[in-house]
């Protein structure tokens, strides 16, 4: 087994890149293990696309070391490109070619033999629900179908690592959802996914690790749970009761509840610890012979954590390797 088989999918160390006098990346370092989904987040101009372009061998860094699948990108860009797939933020297949011919042509450039190509193209057209549009030119597809074909094109050579740059941008809800399901399926089948997105719910849904970049620096890295844990606000319990109670009654009966506020006919309880607060609330309802008609937990979302980190500017890094 080659040494690179055990290497991380992506390892970046001290990456610097400037455009003239404008710095885009200032010492970016991170490691992306194999097998998972890694979300690379940041506001516009943070340096996400510059990072992807460097990782894909399209751009040379000013300094720093980048390896993909154990291969040094600056030394072996062609070998790296053979092992990765890229879905850029624009749907840039050949407009005049049919869906099938687009996939076949890219398969040819990735070195697949005619027989393998034919089978793979058929398989992808089926998997991405494009079989009935196989002979349709790319330009005639809807935006959602174009994104689907671009994703299929990135998978034509079964890459080890898939880079997705804003994969669901501009898609309607059903198309975006269908694409996310495909991404999850691709990942479950063994492809490591590097995802950049402005849709933080998408990142939260798909990613096991998140890296947040601000002004060319990594400011936070960890699991979505670790990132969410950085938000200073607490956990909220949503509670619906069948009769009238006051906040004072709730607070005196439930010591684990810090604050109680009525909201849209429900109670929104800020709690210190979820389990005792829930137990106390249920006991309170039982004692008052009230029915619980709604209950739920509201945790800080990744989006709230992201915004908090943005507001803080450049907080100390967490969970960074």
């Amino acid at each position: 087994m080659p040494a690179e088989a055990n290497s991380p999918a992506v390892a970046v160390e001290g990456l610097h890149k400037s455009y003239g006098a404008v710095p885009a990346l200032r010492g970016v370092s991170f490691t992306m293990p194999r097998g998972g989904v890694f979300a690379y987040l940041g506001p516009n101009g943070a340096g996400k696309t510059t990072t992807i372009n460097i990782l894909c061998g399209l751009l040379r860094p000013d300094s720093g070391r980048v390896t993909v699948c154990g291969l040094e990108v600056s030394q072996e860009p062609v070998k790296v490109k053979a092992r990765i797939g890229v879905v850029p933020d624009e749907s840039n297949l050949y407009p005049e070619l049919s869906c099938r011919r687009n996939l076949d042509y890219l398969g040819e450039l990735y070195g697949l033999s005619r027989g393998v190509r034919r089978a793979r193209v058929g398989e992808l057209l089926g998997l991405f629900s494009l079989a009935d549009r196989a002979e349709m030119p790319f330009r005639a597809l809807s935006r959602g179908l174009k994104r689907r074909l671009v994703l299929a094109a990135a998978m034509v050579h079964a890459p080890e690592v898939l880079f997705l740059d804003e994969p669901t941008i501009g898609l309607d809800v059903p198309s975006a959802r269908a694409l996310r399901q495909l991404i999850r399926r691709i990942n479950q089948e063994g492809t490591t996914v590097f995802l950049t997105t402005h849709n933080l719910a998408e990142a939260e849904e798909l990613a096991e690790r998140v890296c947040i970049l601000i002004q060319g620096r990594v400011v936070a890295m960890g699991s979505p749970g670790e990132i969410r844990g950085r938000v200073e606000r607490g956990t909220y319990l949503r509670l619906g009761l069948s009769g009238e109670v006051t906040a004072r009654e709730l607070l005196s009966a439930c010591p684990a509840v810090k604050e109680a506020r009525p909201q849209n006919g429900l109670w929104r309880l800020e709690v210190e610890a979820l389990h005792p607060a829930l137990a106390q609330s249920l006991a309170f309802a039982e004692a008052r012979r009230l029915l619980v008609n709604d209950v739920g937990v509201e945790r800080p979302t990744l989006e709230e954590a992201f915004l908090a980190i943005l507001q803080q500017g450049q907080p100390p890094e967490v969970g960074q390797r």
Binding site: L93, Y105, L106, Y110
Partner: protein, 243 residues
């Protein structure tokens, strides 16, 4: 799969996308065919004097018609980025794109030459010189086209640049009149033009006569254009692709 096989794939795709289109084919063939017919009707014995020049002109326009805009066009469309993400080298891309341009230029000029041979009885005194002239000139012209394409940012700039090269070149390269009748001050300029050397090799192929003492002179000049065009096109492509 070797990089050469990938270059062939790029070339085939470009032929399919750009060259195998009826308007391009008819334009490339009709214009020189009508020109030659007009010459023949005016002077049935004199058309041979310009036939090599018109074949070379057809080759020049065929090789540069799309080559001059293809890189800029694909960069605008985003498909160049797609190509750069695949495991191909800049040399492979240039070889594929120049190869398809050269193939198209060769096909149109060969159809014209065949037509002239079959319909008007154009001779072929030195087939080797004729073939060498076509091949070397096709390579040189298509690389010059690609070079124009990587030198500019917009498609219209590439077209303008290429027209500023092609049309004056027609008048200094012995296409319509032999180099022997050129004024002495124009000859050094004619010697710099790759079209001059293409015309002379084709003239040698058709009639067995050539302005130069040895056929090696135009052949070597064209070869130098091929090497220089290749080097500059790769250099320009790396710069443009990185922007």
């Amino acid at each position: 799969m070797s990089q050469f096989a990938r270059a062939l794939a790029i070339g085939r795709k470009d032929v399919e996308s750009y060259y195998a289109k009826p308007p391009l084919i008819t334009w490339a063939l009709l214009f020189p065919a009508v020109l030659m017919l007009a010459m023949y009707l005016k002077d049935p014995g004199g058309y041979l004097a310009v036939a090599p020049g018109v074949i070379a002109m057809t080759l020049l326009f065929g090789c540069t018609s799309m080559a001059a805009i293809v890189v800029t066009f694909e960069k605008r469309a985003g498909t160049l980025r797609r190509l750069l993400l695949t495991p191909v080298t800049p040399q492979t891309i240039i070889l594929g794109k120049a190869g398809s341009a050269a193939a198209y230029g060769l096909a149109t000029s060969l159809v014209l030459a065949l037509g002239l041979g079959l319909l008007l009885g154009m001779p072929l005194a030195n087939p080797l010189a004729f073939a060498a002239g076509l091949l070397l000139a096709a390579a040189a012209f298509s690389l010059l086209g690609i070079l124009a394409s990587v030198m500019v940012r917009e498609v219209f700039e590439a077209m303008t640049l290429m027209n500023f090269f092609r049309f004056p070149t027609l008048f200094i390269s012995g296409v319509f009149m032999p180099l022997e009748s050129f004024p002495s001050w124009l000859l050094p300029l004619a010697m710099l033009s790759p079209l001059t050397h293409a015309v002379e090799l084709l003239r040698l192929g058709v009639s067995g006569a050539c302005h130069f003492a040895s056929p090696w002179i135009p052949a070597l000049v064209l070869a130098a254009y091929v090497l220089g065009g290749w080097w500059l096109a790769i250099r320009g492509f790396r710069r443009r692709a990185g922007q």
